[in-house]
C-alpha cells in the first residue's frame, strides 16, 4: 500500500488470463465438429439450413435441410381454376415470376392446343429477358454482399428498380405481375413503354460494363472465387444441374437454343460458357448472360410484330371489354370464364423452359375439369442444391459461403 498505485479489479482479472495454448491429449486438427448453419443466416439467401461437418476449417460434409418456406402451392393450385393458378404459381420462385407463369401457361396451352399470337410471344420474350436480367442483378448484388462488397448491392438494385418500373408500367405490378395468361398476355404494352424499354436496354450494357470493371479483376473477388469449389460437367449432369452452373463448366446447354419455345429461334444470341466450372466461371457466365438478354430483348422490341396480344379463342381468353356492352355471346363467354374457367382436355404434359437458374419444367395433369389435377414445378434451385455438398467437400468454410452465393438458390422455389 505504500506509494504503489492500487490495481483495479479489471486489471487484476486481465493479468490472470493466460494466453498459453491449452495442453490436451486430443489432436484438435482431427476432431470433427458439426455446425448448424441457418436457417436464419444472411448468407443462406433465404431460409436454408445446412448441417456442416467441419474438420478445423475444412468442410467434410454438408447436408441441406429445406422445407422452412413450404407453403403447399402445388396443392393450392389443384383447388383453383387454371387461370387462377397463375398468381400462386408465380410466387414459387419469387425472383423469376415470369418464368413460372410461362412454364405453367406453356403446359396448359400444349394441353389445350391453343396457338399463341406472335405479338404475345414477343412480349413474353421481352418480359422474360428483363426478368432474367433482374434475377441476375439480385443475385449479383446479394452475392457481392456475401463477399464483403456492399456498394455492388446498391448499384444492382438501382438497375433492378428500373426493370420493376417497366413491369409496373406494363401490368400494374412490380412483382408477381400475372401478366402472362393462357393464350397470350393480359394486355398490350402501354404507350411510352417501348421508348422507356429502349432507353433501359441502351443503358444496361454500360452498367454491366461497370460491374465487370468493379469485380472482374478485383483482388478480393479473384481470391474468393477463382479456383474455388469447381465441379466438372459430368458430375453436374449426373446431379441434374442445369443453367448457368452447368454452362460455367463448359457445357453449352441452354433450352432457348437447344429446344426453342416462344419464338427464341428467331433471335440472335450466344450462350456464354465457362472453362473449369469454378466459382469465378459461375460469376462470369451470369454477368455475360445479362448482355445476351439485353440483345434478345432489343431484337424482340425492334421486331415486335403487329397483331393481337392474346388468342382470339373466346373459350380460353376473356373477350375485349368493349364487346361486353353490345354482344350477348361475349357476355356469356366472360361469365363462363370468370365463374368456372375453361375446361382442359385430359392428359399429362411436361413443359420445360430455361429459367435464370436452369431447366424449369412444369408438369400439369388434367382430368378434363376446369381445375388441374396436378401441378408440379421441377424447380432448378431444388435440383441444383443437391450439388452443394459435392462442390464444397474438402474446401474451406469461407469458400462454402461463396459457393452458396454462386449457386444462386431461391428458397421460395426450392420449398414451393
Amino acid at each position: 500500500m505504500s506509494g504503489q498505485p492500487t490495481m483495479s479489479e479489471y486489471r487484476r482479472r486481465e493479468q490472470s488470463i493466460t494466453l498459453s495454448p491449452v495442453e490436451e491429449q486430443v489432436d484438435t486438427s482431427q476432431e470433427l465438429l458439426t455446425l448448424n448453419f441457418g436457417p436464419h443466416h444472411p448468407a443462406t439467401h433465404g431460409v436454408l439450413r445446412l448441417l456442416v461437418t467441419l474438420q478445423g476449417e475444412l468442410v467434410r460434409d454438408v447436408k441441406p435441410i429445406i422445407g422452412y418456406v413450404h407453403t403447399g402451392i402445388e396443392k393450392t393450385a389443384e383447388d383453383k381454376a387454371y387461370w387462377k393458378v397463375i398468381p400462386v404459381i408465380e410466387r414459387m420462385d419469387y425472383l423469376s415470376y415470369y418464368f413460372n407463369s410461362m412454364a405453367f401457361c406453356g403446359a396448359v396451352e400444349t394441353l389445350l392446343e391453343v396457338e399463341v399470337p406472335r405479338r404475345a410471344q414477343y412480349l413474353r420474350v421481352i418480359h422474360m429477358e428483363l426478368n432474367r436480367i433482374m434475377s441476375h442483378l439480385v443475385w449479383l448484388g446479394t452475392s457481392a454482399l456475401d463477399l464483403g462488397a456492399i456498394s455492388m448491392f446498391w448499384y444492382c438494385f438501382r438497375e433492378r428498380e428500373k426493370i420493376l418500373d417497366l413491369f409496373e408500367m406494363s401490368s400494374g405490378q412490380r412483382m408477381h405481375t400475372r401478366y402472362f395468361q393462357v393464350g397470350g398476355v393480359i394486355e398490350d404494352i402501354p404507350d411510352g413503354f417501348a421508348a422507356k424499354l429502349a432507353g433501359f436496354l441502351k443503358e444496361m450494357p454500360g452498367r454491366a460494363d461497370q460491374y465487370g470493371a468493379l469485380l472482374n479483376k478485383n483482388e478480393i473477388v479473384l481470391q474468393r472465387l477463382r479456383g474455388t469449389c469447381p465441379l466438372d460437367a459430368d458430375s453436374l449432369l449426373a446431379l441434374g444441374v442445369t443453367g448457368p452452373l452447368l454452362r460455367a463448366a463448359g457445357y453449352p446447354w441452354d433450352l432457348r437454343k437447344a429446344d426453342p419455345y416462344c419464338c427464341y429461334e428467331e433471335f440472335d444470341f450466344k450462350i456464354p460458357v465457362g472453362t473449369v466450372g469454378d466459382n469465378y466461371d459461375r460469376y462470369a457466365v451470369r454477368l455475360a448472360e445479362m448482355y445476351e438478354s439485353v440483345k434478345i430483348a432489343t431484337q424482340a422490341l425492334e421486331g415486335l410484330p403487329e397483331g393481337p396480344h392474346i388468342t382470339e379463342d373466346r373459350k380460353v381468353a376473356l373477350p375485349p371489354r368493349h364487346e361486353l356492352a353490345t354482344s350477348m355471346e361475349a357476355l356469356i363467354h366472360h361469365f363462363k370464364l370468370v365463374t368456372e374457367g375453361f375446361r382442359v382436355p385430359p392428359g399429362e404434359v411436361y413443359f420445360p423452359i430455361e429459367s435464370p437458374r436452369g431447366e424449369l419444367g412444369c408438369f400439369v395433369r388434367s382430368d378434363g375439369s376446369s381445375k388441374p389435377a396436378r401441378v408440379h414445378m421441377r424447380d432448378p434451385s431444388f435440383v441444383n442444391l443437391q450439388a452443394t455438398s459435392k462442390m464444397v467437400e474438402g474446401s474451406y468454410i469461407a469458400d462454402m459461403i461463396a459457393t452458396l452465393a454462386m449457386l444462386d438458390p431461391v428458397l421460395g422455389g426450392i420449398d414451393r
Binding site: 422445407g67 392446343e113 449432369l237 392428359g347 443437391q386
Partner: protein
C-alpha cells in the same frame, strides 16, 4: 420427341432385351408430340438403364402424381432427356396404395435423391434402396401425405402460443 412409331420401336426393343424375359412395358402413349412408356415397377431400373444406353442420359425430373379415384392410384414419372438429339421421353410407373413400393433409381441417377424424397413425402411412395429416405419439405413428425387427392385442403390448426397445447394435444 420420338414419334408414335419410334416410341413403339423403343418399346419393342425394351421387350426384346428384358433380362427376365418379361415385357417391362405395359403401355405406350403418344400425346401432344411426347411419348410416354408405362412400365412394370419391377422393371424401372433396367428400363431407365437401357434408355440411358439409347442416349437418354439426363434424368431431368422425377415427380409423383395421384390418379384418384382410378386404380392403381399413385404414379411416379421420370422425364428423360437426350441432350445430343434434344429428345425427351417419359417413363411412368404406377403403384397401388396398399403396396406403394418402387425401386429407387438414386444409386444410378444421383439427381433422383431429393426428388424421390419429395415424392415419398407428398405421396407416400416408398423407394426401396434409397440411401436416405426421409421427409424433405414437410416436418419430420408430420402425419399423412399431403399431395394425395383425398387429403383435404386446409382444416389444419395453425399453432400459436395461445392454442399450442390444444392443437398439439399436450398438457399445459
Amino acid at each position: 420427341m420420338p414419334d408414335a412409331t419410334g416410341l413403339e420401336l423403343i418399346a419393342q426393343e425394351l421387350a426384346g432385351s428384358a433380362p427376365d424375359g418379361e415385357d417391362p412395358v405395359l403401355q405406350t402413349l403418344h400425346f401432344r408430340g411426347r411419348g410416354t412408356l408405362l412400365v412394370r415397377r419391377e422393371g424401372i431400373r433396367t428400363v431407365l438403364e437401357q434408355l440411358r444406353g439409347k442416349g437418354y442420359g439426363f434424368l431431368s425430373s422425377v415427380h409423383g402424381v395421384d390418379h384418384y379415384p382410378e386404380e392403381p392410384r399413385l404414379g411416379v414419372i421420370y422425364e428423360l432427356l437426350d441432350m445430343a438429339r434434344v429428345d425427351r421421353i417419359t417413363v411412368k410407373v404406377r403403384v397401388s396404395l396398399d403396396d406403394p413400393h418402387v425401386d429407387s433409381v438414386t444409386p444410378q441417377w444421383p439427381t433422383a435423391d431429393h426428388q424421390e424424397r419429395e415424392v415419398y413425402d407428398m405421396f407416400g411412395v416408398v423407394f426401396d434402396g434409397h440411401p436416405d429416405l426421409r421427409r424433405i419439405l414437410m416436418p419430420e413428425d408430420y402425419e399423412g401425405h399431403p399431395q394425395r387427392r383425398d387429403f383435404p385442403v386446409g382444416g389444419e390448426p395453425v399453432i400459436f402460443t395461445h392454442n399450442e397445447n390444444e392443437a398439439m394435444g399436450t398438457e399445459p
